[in-house]
């Protein structure tokens, strides 16, 4: 009673189909009659949409794989930072935002920066894994 392919595999297949089959056809009509000035603007817009759609499929596929662990790690970090025993990611994010806004809690900026950077790194691994590397090993916490 298990249906294959699973969601993760299906999303990657959709992304691949958009990238390999749809985008090239649209690219051809978008720039068929170079110079660029007389290219078909509708094809160019549709190509842009297809690229975004493929990218979003890949994000969702990575999210299914990585988010449970990422969320747990960020929740643990936030509980440690804020000195709490419980609370969801949303509650803890709001609590941190409130403390930063009001200045209550007297949080150490270095610790806040570390927690936020680690959380951003985990989210980036889902949204755009190559981004952190683009800087040639730039900052990473």
């Amino acid at each position: 009673m298990i249906d294959r392919p699973d969601a993760h595999r299906l999303l990657l297949a959709v992304a691949e189909a958009l990238t390999d089959e749809v985008v090239p056809v649209l690219s051809a009509s978008a720039s068929a009659s170079a110079p660029v000035q007389v290219a078909d603007p509708e094809a160019a817009a549709a190509r842009y949409t297809a690229r975004i759609a493929a990218n979003l499929c890949r994000i969702v596929a990575r999210e299914a794989e990585l988010w449970p662990q990422a969320e747990a790690a960020t929740v643990a970090d936030l509980r440690g930072l804020l000195g709490r025993d419980g609370g969801s990611l949303e509650e803890l994010s709001r609590a941190l935002d409130d403390e930063l806004r009001t200045g209550a809690g007297d949080l150490d900026p270095g610790s806040v920066h570390r927690v936020l950077s680690a959380a951003a790194g985990r989210r980036l691994a889902i949204a755009r894994p190559s981004y952190g590397d683009d800087l040639g090993g730039g900052h990473r916490s």
């Binding site: 709001r94 900026p109 980036l124």
Partner: protein, 342 residues
């Protein structure tokens, strides 16, 4: 408005701006939005005034009841013309005015001469990469263009409709805070950044300047690896010159070409030198402050686009995708803040 009315109106406008007698045809529609259209025109002067030329007409429905929500293209024309007169590569305004429409809302139109070149960021990067000095010439031209823009006395630009907004650094910080508070979800990274920006507030510039507000790869027409014209003057305002210089250097406008800080095509040193050589005064503390402030602003802006999608005010896939780009700006911002929090 029918095309026939439109053409008659445009012809009249062009003639009263001193370009007539002429005939004109619509070549094609470039963009069409809810209350804004852009069309390409072919203008043929009558008599011996030279051959036909291409022009771009922006048509904006002007709802007087909503004054203040959209900048009048007439004001935009005044700013662009002032910039051009001071040596900033900008489009040449051929005519600007209201079309004599039979039915409201009135339509404002800005007609500019078409400028040849490339605007799509990745194509710009490819085109400058193909020449020997890479993006150096373009970078220097950007520095020079901004210095010339910033040298204009804002008081000397007369606007028909409303005064330009003024942003001091303190006021910009308030603006950022308001934008952040408008978002339904918490964004502690931006809150953290705003705290740091408040702590490290630089002094305002000795004199206020005209600021383009969106001078970056994507809004520049690049031809023969050089700046042909700066586009998109809708966000023009009065403020700190370092805002414009920081914006063109934001990582998000490098389109993956990260080792070149200026728009993905040039070196910061070349920009700084060209700006100073053309009379601009570079203030490093303010440049760094604006780099962080503008990174936060764009991150908050992307989050706001996603909110519009989630709340059903937009069905654009681009706006949906913006929600997942917010973290890129957070990552950049945390990188900029790293040295400041020890």
């Amino acid at each position: 408005m029918t095309d026939e009315h439109l053409l008659a109106g445009l012809e009249q406008l062009m003639t009263s701006a001193g370009h007539g007698p002429l005939s004109l045809t619509v070549d094609r529609e470039l963009t069409a939005g809810a209350n804004r259209r852009t069309i390409r025109l072919i203008i043929t002067p009558a008599g011996l005034d030279g051959g036909p030329y291409a022009a771009i007409a922006q048509l904006v429905e002007r709802d007087d009841a909503r004054e203040g929500t959209t900048r009048s293209v007439l004001d935009e024309a005044a700013v662009v013309s002032a910039a051009r007169a001071n040596g900033v590569p900008a489009v040449e305004v051929l005519a600007a005015g209201r079309l004599p429409a039979a039915t409201p809302p009135p339509i404002e139109v800005l007609v500019t001469r078409e400028v040849a070149g490339e605007t799509i960021p990745r194509r710009v990067l490819r085109s400058v990469g193909a020449v020997e000095d890479g993006g150096r010439k373009l970078t220097r031209s950007c520095g020079r263009a901004l210095a010339r823009l910033h040298a204009i006395d804002p008081a000397a630009v007369s606007l028909a409709h409303e005064p330009l907004p003024v942003f001091t650094v303190a006021r910009y910080l308030d603006h950022l805070t308001e934008r952040l508070d408008d978002l339904p979800d918490p964004h502690p990274t931006f809150r953290f950044a705003i705290n740091r920006l408040a702590h490290d507030l630089p002094s305002d510039p000795p004199k206020r300047s005209l600021i383009h507000g969106d001078f970056r790869n994507g809004n520049l027409i690049v031809d023969a690896a050089d700046l042909a014209a700066a586009l998109d003057w809708e966000l023009v305002h009065i403020g700190d010159p370092m805002e414009d210089l920081a914006w063109i250097c934001l990582r998000t406008w490098r389109f993956g070409s990260d080792s070149r800080e200026v728009g993905g095509f040039g070196r910061l040193d070349d920009l700084r030198r060209a700006y100073a050589d053309s009379g601009g005064r570079w203030r490093q503390d303010a440049f760094e402050w604006w780099t962080m402030a503008r990174t936060a602003w764009w991150g908050i802006g992307l989050a706001a686009q996603a909110v519009a999608f989630v709340e059903g005010r937009s069905n654009s896939l681009v706006h949906a995708a913006s929600g997942r780009r917010v973290v890129e700006l957070e990552y950049d911002l945390l990188g900029l803040l790293a040295a400041r929090v020890g």
